[in-house]
Amino acid sequence: MEIALAIGLGGLFGIMLERIGATDPNWIGRMLNLTNTHLMKTIFVAIGTASILMFGGQMLGVVEVGHMSVKEIHVGVLLGGAILGIGWAIAGYCPGTGVCAAATGRLDALFFIAGGLIGAGAYALSYPFWEEIGFLNGEKWTIGEIPGASYPAALPDLPITGDMLGIGIGIAFILIAILLPRRLVGKAAPVTDTKAEPAE
């Protein structure tokens, strides 16, 4: 059963990453050099939609709160994120989109995966160092207190519960996507430019 779910969900995720253009380094590059925010809009809407559905489902009792999995916050999250950001801009791939891009026949993505295996292995060997200097210790905070979950809240005294806050943030993310300009630097692209806003 679990294997069937892995195939179904993984397959859907792969299809969607390809369909939104995330497996195409050109779209990642246009997002990161701020010349086309289309992919950013897609991601904002996706996070917002997922958040509203998940927290809404939890409030209605149809989504198991125990399925949540919040990661620890520590110095390594910020430093590791900053390191990843550099490689992301250089390659135009992140781990998930890189493996999917390789599957779509992009040869450069195969080299990204090879590099990724080296990078992950290098981290595995250097892990004791980061552990020792205390960069990896932290708690699994959520912003608000989520009913039924045992995660500590970063803001425990909010007037609303963490799941209501999650729905609010989800709506805000969708609004940001709507309000976000098509490009953030340089002159505006012509409306007829199909690259700026895919019609499909």
Binding site: V45, T49, H67, M68, G76, G96, F112, G116, G119
Partner: protein, 180 residues
Amino acid sequence: MVLNWKIGGPLLGVVFFLAVLLVQPIGVSTQFVVIDGVLWERNAPGLITQGPNGGWTSTYPYFAKYAKDIANPVNYSVIFVAAMMGGALLSAVAFGRIPLRERFSPALWSANFRTGWIGRWVLSFLGGVIVLYGARMAGGCTSGHMMSGMMQTAVSGYLFAFGAFLTAFPTARMLLKKEA
């Protein structure tokens, strides 16, 4: 042709929601460590060892965390990544037309670098090293931290996104000046 964000965004969001509803939040970068372990074990057995109680461990602390998965790699998360590749392939065959030149080097990189496709492959490799080193230090990547984390209002997801964009925007602005 890429889906418009008004359609692609909600659909991608539904996939992330279904993953949490049915199993667990989506994550990818951990599997690079598992595959590393499997490759290592295949070429030089002894990375992971089975204790007297049947549990798997390793003398390398980081691989010890994933020793069970390395011993039995046919599990949910590895199949998930394999299925992702299958889904992307199906989708590309059905909808995408990626030109041959694009498969060697994406247009935006061809426009900005005069190094040809070998240069692109080197950049892609280097990017891969940096991305996965950072992702493992952070404890997740764009899927696990940014998407899955922020949708759960995890503070770590926001910190990760802040760190990633803090360097990704300036790096891309410097490297990718020409548009394509």
